[in-house]
């Protein structure tokens, strides 16, 4: 009975957090960024984590993505307890299972757009074979940057840079795609495009997407919204 429930849970849940806490500092200056979070992120759906600044949403994302160690509780992604991994295995896990889109795009200035997209594969010492190249082209096509692949990030607009970043995040077919304020540096038209692409990724490619944002308009694109305040889900 329990086993079947767990299996069912694994099929529908991409990641989960149990009693997650994160505390910075000590004594008087102690800050509780997360105060016991329980959360399940459904597979193949587009979730938005919302909240004002200081609500702990970025910390939650960092913990879920294995970028930061929680002070207490567990994070499970694709059936793996992240707390049980050391830095190297965690890094490799991230490389294989998690994709990122950042607010400030974070493309490597020395690489072309195309090279930036396949970078995660290269970091894993994987050969860039025809299948990978095909996938990169398909993603670039979907995201509308296919004709910009030979350009450097400085020669791209903000929207284009962010779409290249999305393509880079999707190239490894991650279990989870995190987007941290992906529209923070974009104007409203471009923002709409980027959000559309994220929603498309969930609907058409079956990609689990978690977006952190403080913009209500952006959150409206998501399938469901998790709202945070003072380190708790409300």
């Amino acid at each position: 009975m329990t086993t079947t429930t767990q299996q069912a849970t694994q099929e529908t849940v991409a990641a989960s957090a149990r009693n997650l806490t994160k505390t910075y500092g000590q004594g008087d200056t102690q800050v509780h960024a997360l105060r016991g979070i329980d959360l399940d992120l459904s597979r193949g759906r587009f979730a938005a984590i919302m909240g004002p600044s200081g609500s702990g949403k970025s910390t939650l994302m960092h913990c879920l993505a294995g970028l930061d160690q929680p002070s207490g509780g567990t994070v499970t992604v694709a059936g793996t307890d992240l707390g049980s991994l050391d830095d190297d295995t965690l890094t490799i896990f991230r490389r294989e299972h998690i994709g990122f889109v950042f607010q400030s795009f974070n493309l490597l200035p020395t690489l072309t757009a195309g090279e930036n997209i396949v970078l995660p594969l290269e970091l894993g010492d994987r050969r860039i074979d025809d299948a990978a190249r095909e996938r990169a082209h398909m993603l670039a096509d979907i995201l509308g940057v296919a004709d910009r692949l030979g350009h450097r990030p400085t020669e791209l607009s903000g929207g284009q840079q962010q779409r290249v970043a999305i393509a880079r995040a999707l190239i490894t077919q991650p279990d989870l795609l995190f987007a941290d304020e992906p529209t923070g540096n974009l104007d409203s038209t471009t923002s709409a495009e980027v959000l559309d692409h994220l929603r498309q990724s969930a609907r058409e490619l079956g990609q689990t997407v978690v977006m952190v944002t403080h913009e209500r308009d952006a959150a409206a694109y998501a399938d469901y919204v998790v709202t945070m305040q003072d380190g708790r889900i409300v």
Binding site: S58, H62, A65, L67, D68, D87, D88, T91, I92, R94, R95, E96, F100, F102, S104, N106, L108, P109, T110, L111, L119, P120, E122, L123, G124, D125, T154, R168, D180, N185
Partner: protein, 803 residues
């Protein structure tokens, strides 16, 4: 602006540490040279005039050091004055102590009267007459001689025994010797004596020809100036190396400042935005440079003083024969070193600060947060580089044609400056080519390495300087050595020649020689004892058809044409009256031959003739010499001593050519290795520079590294990436430096070496150069250790929240 200046100093001072170390090392170098120079000066001052303190006049050669006193005339002059004169000088003689052969020993006179005696007794007593000797303490220490030991000075008939009655200190370079005996005893080796000066009391009278009389003060001043000039020219040489180190530090500091200022361009723009004038901003950063300069120069000066005095103490402890006085602080040197450090820092920061001026206030308002400093290579720079390269190459060509060292130095400097200016174009291309060999793993590292061409070029330039010079020195040394080897082979074809002038050598002796450790091959040399007109003593005339087995010149010296006789000019010394081409009569018993003299050196006191010639002189040749080839690595002194033990009892003498070989080899080695050691300082500064550039770039790229970590780059991969970057930079600099260095060495060979040694061939020590490249790569790896560790410590999340 004061608050801004102070705050910025507080925040950034740690980033200047590496640059400050570079300056401090160079300044310390200058100061150490200064302390050593004045230490050597004061060391030489002490005691120099002691032998002449009670003289009214000092008689020495006119035109010294080019000409010297004629020994016979000077001895006669001294004798004429009797008690009113004391000579200083020495005779170089073979000597034995307690039956053990000593290295060539200098023997000087010691006066019996208190007023002429200048040596200071440290144990025992002064000699009272013939048969007694005192030994210099340091020589005694080195050769293990004690009071009461017996020494035998001289060889053959001129050998005299003496008892060591005391040990003395003798701190006057013109008069110094290893042993001292009374003047009458010294005169027993009259033919070997060289006199430097004669101290005279009262009237000088008739001077020997070519001699002049001076006051003792005048004489001391003359000698002192000469020695000091030699010390000073040594100091100039050392300063040359210090200059190279300073130049390298200029590159390191300039690079540090331009990187730091580039990173802070937004801050400067912000300051301009809120109303700071250009002058204010520039003054603030220049003041920062001045603080770094002052602190670094001060540290360098203090370290230099400490190191300098430490070295003086060390030199005094290790080589007591080189007098090093406890110098007082050489203030001009200290001030000079400090000033040079400060000026160098200010000059190196000048260009980078000028770029700060150009920042527009608007830069602060632009949203773009990425610090990606691209520097373009100006056309002016390229044109200048091209002009310098063409001029330099032309000058080098001219230098080779005209054998002109001045043109060579000018041309070399010009070419090198051209290469440095051309760096931003050349170096990134070379890095890309080298990086391509690493495959995809090195791609990120390669791209990072060439991201900022000018920064890359300056970083590598600092190493390039050191490596180019190192390579040139190594290649020059190899070339010089191989040609010297040839020349020494010609001058000293036989390692050790054992000659028995009267009795033939026995088979037993030959066997014992062959079984002596360090002997690789020994051949008996047949001949007959002959009287050669013009030589005081009978010598064996010999034939050596088998000489090729032992000779270093392939036996060429022993292939004498019929009708000639080969005489070793060194074995007979200065008293050889025979000149090449002289016709002499050679008698063996009642047979005789007219032979023409041919002069060479390195086979001992025998005449080498053709077999036909010997056949006319004797029907029964007997072995009169044993010629020995030492095995490689044999200790010349040990081997010479061992063979002497065998030779002495049977009345044979030995000529040790191996010892000359070794001392020349050692000298060359000492020159080359000290040059390399001194260049090493420049190389160390350059490596500090590489570590520094990498460290500062790591700060600049913290965000990028965090992102790469988030995307799945492991710590190890990140560290490897940075290490690859550093290794790429150092290997490219080293390869380029090796090519240029070998080129320079070739020019130097064509210009200088070929003129000095006509049949020298260029030798490139490839394995050694390979080692240099390997060391550079390892050093690059080492330079990356700290920056890479720091970079890898940043957690992905922390890096992303950095701004």
């Amino acid at each position: 602006m004061r608050t801004v200046f102070l705050a910025s100093l507080r925040t950034h001072i740690r980033r200047y540490v590496a640059a400050a170390i570079a300056v401090a090392v160079a300044v310390a170098f200058v100061v150490v040279v200064g302390v050593l120079t004045s230490g050597a000066h004061s060391g030489l001052m002490d005691g120099l005039g002691a032998p002449y303190r009670n003289a009214d006049h000092v008689v020495s050669a006119v035109g010294w050091p080019a000409s010297v006193l004629d020994p016979k005339a000077a001895i006669a002059f001294t004798e004429r004055h009797g008690e009113n004169a004391a000579a200083t000088g020495r005779a170089t003689l073979p000597a034995r102590a307690n039956g053990r052969r000593l290295s060539e020993t200098t023997v000087g006179p010691i006066a019996t009267s208190e007023e002429w005696r200048w040596q200071k007794l440290s144990s025992g007593r002064f000699p009272a007459g013939t048969g007694e000797a005192v030994v210099d303490v340091y020589f005694a220490l080195a050769e293990n001689i004690e009071v009461g030991d017996r020494v035998r000075i001289g060889e053959g008939a001129a050998a005299r025994d003496a008892r060591v009655v005391g040990l003395v200190e003798s701190p006057s370079p013109p008069a110094q010797a290893a042993m001292y005996v009374t003047w009458p005893q010294l005169l027993q080796w009259r033919d070997h004596i060289h006199l430097t000066a004669v101290a005279v009391r009262g009237e000088v009278g008739q001077l020997p020809e070519g001699a002049k009389a001076q006051s003792p003060e005048g004489f001391a001043a003359e000698r002192l100036t000469y020695v000091q000039n030699r010390v000073n020219s040594l100091s100039v040489m050392l300063l040359l190396f210090a200059g190279i180190a300073l130049f390298v530090s200029v590159l390191v500091i300039a690079n540090t400042f331009s990187i730091l200022f580039a990173q802070r361009l937004r801050d400067f723009a912000l300051l301009r935005c809120i109303g700071a004038t250009r002058r204010q901003v520039v003054r603030s950063v220049r003041r920062e440079a001045a603080v770094v300069g002052v602190l670094a120069s001060l540290t360098g000066t203090l370290v230099g003083i400490g190191l300098g005095y430490g070295l003086i103490a060390l030199i005094n402890a290790l080589t007591p024969t080189i007098p090093m006085g406890a110098a007082e602080l050489p203030t001009p040197w200290l001030l000079g070193g400090f000033a040079v450090g400060l000026v160098v820092t200010m000059v190196a920061s000048w260009l980078p600060t000028r770029r700060v001026v150009r920042v527009s206030p608007l830069a602060a308002l632009r949203p773009d947060t990425a610090v990606d400093v691209h520097t373009a290579t100006g056309l002016v720079r390229l044109a200048l580089a091209a002009i310098l390269l063409v001029t330099g190459l032309t000058l080098l060509g001219l230098a080779m044609v005209q054998d002109s060292t001045a043109l060579m130095v000018a041309g070399g400097g010009s070419v090198f400056a051209g290469v440095l200016l051309f760096g931003p174009v050349l170096v990134p291309r070379l890095v890309r080519i080298t990086g391509a060999l690493l495959g995809p793993a090195g791609r990120l590292a390669t791209k990072n390495a060439v991201r900022n061409p000018r920064r890359t070029a300056t970083t590598t330039a600092s190493l390039l300087v050191g490596v180019t010079l190192t390579t040139a020195v190594l290649t020059g040394m190899a070339t010089w050595r191989s040609s010297l080897d040839e020349q020494i082979g010609r001058d000293h074809p036989i390692d050790v020649a054992l000659t028995s002038p009267k009795e033939p050598v026995t088979t037993d002796l030959l066997n014992r020689v062959r079984h002596t450790p360090g002997v690789e091959q020994a051949i008996p040399v047949d001949g007959a004892v002959a009287r050669v007109a013009g030589l005081d003593k009978a010598i064996p005339v010999v034939i050596a058809p088998a000489a090729a087995q032992v000779a270093r010149d392939g036996g060429a010296f022993a292939r004498v044409e019929p009708g000639k006789i080969g005489i070793d000019s060194e074995a007979f010394g200065k008293n050889l009256s025979l000149r090449p081409g002289d016709r002499v009569t050679v008698h063996v018993g009642d047979r005789r031959a007219q032979l023409q003299v041919a002069v060479g050196s390195g086979w001992g006191p025998v005449g080498v003739v053709a077999p036909e010639t010997l056949a006319t002189l004797t029907d029964a040749p007997e072995p009169h010499a044993i010629w020995i080839r030492a095995s490689s690595g044999a200790d010349p002194a040990q081997l010479g001593g061992d063979l002497d033990e065998l030779a002495d009892p049977v009345g044979a003498t030995i000529e040790n050519g191996l010892r000359t070989w070794e001392s020349l080899d050692q000298q060359l080695g000492i020159y080359a290795w000290s040059a390399l050691g001194l260049l090493g300082i420049a190389v160390v500064i350059a490596l500090i520079g590489i570590a520094n550039t990498l460290g500062l770039s790591v700060l600049e790229r913290a965000r990028e590294h965090a992102m790469l970590r988030a995307l799945g780059l492991t710590r190890r991969q990140l560290r490897r990436m940075l290490a690859t970057e550093a290794v790429l930079l150092s290997v490219v600099a080293t390869l380029l430096g090796t090519v240029i260095g070998v080129g320079f060495a070739w020019v130097g060979y064509e210009t200088i070496v070929k003129r000095a040694l006509s049949d020298a061939t260029m030798q490139v020590p490839w394995p050694l150069l390979g080692v240099v490249v390997l060391i550079a790569a390892l050093a690059g790896l080492l330079a990356a250790v700290l920056p890479a560790r720091r970079a890898a410590r940043v957690t992905p999340a922390a890096g992303l929240s950095l701004d």
